[in-house]
């Protein structure tokens, strides 16, 4: 429409005429949009990479872990998963191609490793030989341990590349011995490098045969393990999950009505729960930004009200020349809208720049990623702020009596 175009043109003229004031006016909006875009770009960048990492976990893997409700934890009744549970799952359920126990070291000394004068602290994990297939990680040098190592509880291990670095071993570390807890272990393999996630190295770990890990952990009989397994057929995942539930309930002697004392999670669920966290962060920051846009909007309303008073005479002239109330309303509304949209535009640009800067300055941080929806949402919000806070000044301008306005000094 002709009038709309005219209003946009006149709004741009007016913004240009008061350049500095326009900048200050839309500063609130600029800051608001800048922060939302910066936060979203960083958070989305994170979620982007993390989702990619989780995809590597394999969509058809299941993880079973013990679960104790908080109240039970207080009473000291910790639920556990044990070897017998894994055996039951392995023997009584079909459709599982690989299954492995995972035993994390539980207390301080077991995580201390040393080599010559160097010592370090790391994550020591006991695993079955199927771990490789379930997690699709493979040794880069040397070999992985065999079934035999497991059964004979040999003191052999496969390590992540960081261990070599931290303990200042030579490049070719296969065959070296180092201390894990109180035992000497031989390195038989070095695993391929996985890189960093959220600034944390994923290559700082020692893998032991499950049997060996139990031995290192001393005589503790009722260790709590996790069970990881691969389902043959992706489509039967839910069915397998349900069967595991039934078997474990039976094993644990749970009566109907009692809640599960374990959880069966798919890789997808891990991603989902992570995404839930991401979404919460996004929502909270969006809320904060909403407040700053509100403040920005009030700033715009304030300046627009001043501007209407200041331009009372101009409004009178326009009315004398034949502007209707709607024409004046539209002109001032569009002006508020243009201020907000310019603020939004500048905010998106600065926000993206800031996000990219932050993620490039922090080592190991993923690249900033601004999704289109965030940009559109920001503009939508700016437009809404412009209309909501522009309507009062615009209505005030439109309602001016032309005679009074022309007489205004």
């Amino acid at each position: 429409m002709n009038m709309l175009w005219e209003s946009i043109r006149s709004a741009l003229d007016s913004v240009r005429a008061h350049g500095f004031r326009s900048l200050l006016t839309s500063l609130g909006i600029i800051i608001g949009v800048t922060s939302v875009i910066a936060v979203v770009s960083i958070v989305q960048g994170l979620s982007y990479t993390i989702n990619a990492q989780f995809a590597g976990l394999g969509g058809n893997s299941l993880t079973v872990r013990s679960y104790t409700p908080f109240k039970q934890q207080l009473q000291g009744n910790l639920a556990k998963l044990q070897d017998s549970d894994m055996e039951a799952i392995a023997s009584r359920i079909d459709g599982i191609s690989h299954i492995t126990p995972i035993l994390y070291t539980q207390s301080g000394t077991q995580g201390v490793i040393s080599y010559r004068s160097q010592s370090s602290f790391t994550r020591v994990v006991g695993i079955g030989s199927s771990y490789l297939e379930v997690n699709s990680v493979y040794p880069e040098q040397g070999r992985f341990f065999s079934r035999d190592d497991d059964i004979r509880r040999r003191l052999v291990c496969a390590v992540g590349v960081d261990i070599i670095e931290n303990l200042k071993m030579s490049e070719d570390a296969v065959g070296e011995f180092f201390r894990v807890g109180n035992e000497w272990c031989k390195i038989v393999g070095v695993m391929e490098k996985r890189g960093e996630l959220l600034g944390f190295s994923q290559d700082d770990y020692v893998l032991l045969p499950y049997g060996t890990a139990k031995r290192i952990m001393g005589g503790q009989r009722d260790l709590d393990i996790q069970i990881q397994l691969l389902v043959d057929d992706m489509n039967r995942q839910d069915e397998v999950k349900e069967r595991i539930r039934r078997v474990l309930r039976q094993e644990h002697g749970l009566k109907s009505g009692q809640p599960d004392d374990f959880k069966v999670q798919t890789a997808e669920q891990l991603t989902e729960s992570f995404n839930a966290v991401i979404n919460t962060i996004t929502a909270v920051s969006a809320g904060i930004v909403g407040i700053s846009l509100l403040v920005g909007g009030i700033g715009i309303m304030n300046i627009m009200l001043v501007s209407v008073t200041e331009r009372t005479r101009e409004i009178g002239i326009l009315k004398a020349l034949g502007a209707t109330r709607q024409d004046i309303l539209l002109q001032f509304l569009i002006e508020a809208l243009v201020l907000c949209m310019i603020g939004g535009l500048v905010g998106v640009a600065i926000g993206y720049g800031l996000g990219a800067l932050v993620s490039s300055l922090l080592p190991g941080f993923p690249e900033a990623h601004v999704p289109l929806w965030a940009v559109l949402l920001s503009f939508g919000f700016c437009a809404a702020v412009g209309v909501i806070f522009g309507i009062v000044p615009a209505a005030k301008a439109a309602q001016l009596d032309p005679i009074d306005a022309l007489r205004y000094e």
Binding site: N2, M3, E6, D13, S14, A17, R313, E314, G316, I317, L318, K319, A320, L321, G322, A323, T324, R325, Q326, D327, P402, I403, L406
Partner: protein
């Protein structure tokens, strides 16, 4: 001039404009009857507070009569709503003010284009008509000048060409030379005379006898009533 039927441009029938100030009722216009025909050149004179401005506001469709009828080109303005009044101002009235009232931020050309915006005329056509109108008042070379870059006389020329660009039925001039020195006043009056000679109907408020002499009819208002209404022979500027 076209047919006799349309020769009446303005007709005020027993027009009152009443202001209430608490208990007091003030009749700024107190039963005014007035007919103005096409191509008349009317001066409205009177002391301040006599009702000149009120009458001009009503004629200019900026205000409405409290009582009585106002026919503008045969259309009853009393029955118009806000938007129709704006349209009437846009199409039928051209205003020239004492203090020029140009849009300060806009160039001469944009000032003259502005009334055409509200008529929905496309930009290229607006530019053409507005530059022609400015050329007619001798400002063809100052299209891009802002009001503050123009002299008082030039500003009033811009205002006159803005008032006339839409071919209005009446030109309403409120003390058009009030802010100008005598030489410039004469130039502006010569321009307005010329506009009248081209067939334009003009109503002009003035308190200077010198200026009123340019007109062929002088209406004197007093206390909201027409005190005298005299036809006179125009004093043609040299």
């Amino acid at each position: 001039m076209p047919g006799e039927k349309s020769s009446t441009v303005i007709e005020l029938q027993d027009v009152y404009r009443t202001y209430r100030m608490g208990e007091q009722v003030l009749n700024a216009l107190d039963g005014v009857n007035l007919t103005i025909k096409r191509n008349e050149y009317v001066a409205v004179v009177g002391a301040s507070g006599s009702g000149k401005s009120t009458m001009m506001n009503i004629i200019g469709c900026l205000d409405r009569a409290s009582k009585g009828e106002y026919l503008l080109n045969g259309t009853n303005v009393g029955h118009m709503n806000e938007t129709e009044l704006a349209r009437a101002r846009n199409r039928e009235i051209g205003f020239v003010f004492q203090s020029f009232n140009l849009l300060a931020r806009a160039s001469a050309l944009k000032n003259v284009m502005q009334p055409l915006v509200y008529r929905g005329i496309p930009q290229s056509e607006r530019i053409r008509r507005a530059s022609e109108a400015l050329e007619r008042v001798g400002l063809g070379g100052r299209l891009d000048s802002r009001p503050n870059q123009l002299s008082g006389g030039q500003r009033q020329r811009v205002a006159i060409s803005r008032a006339l660009v839409g071919n209005p039925a009446i030109l309403l001039a409120d003390e058009p030379t009030g802010n100008l020195d005598s030489t410039t006043s004469q130039e502006i009056m010569a321009l307005i005379d010329q506009v009248h000679e081209q067939g334009q109907t003009i109503i002009m408020v003035t308190h200077e006898a010198d200026i009123a002499r340019h007109c062929n009819r002088v209406i004197r208002l007093e206390d909201g009533k027409i005190e005298s209404d005299i036809q006179q022979v125009r004093h043609v500027s040299s």
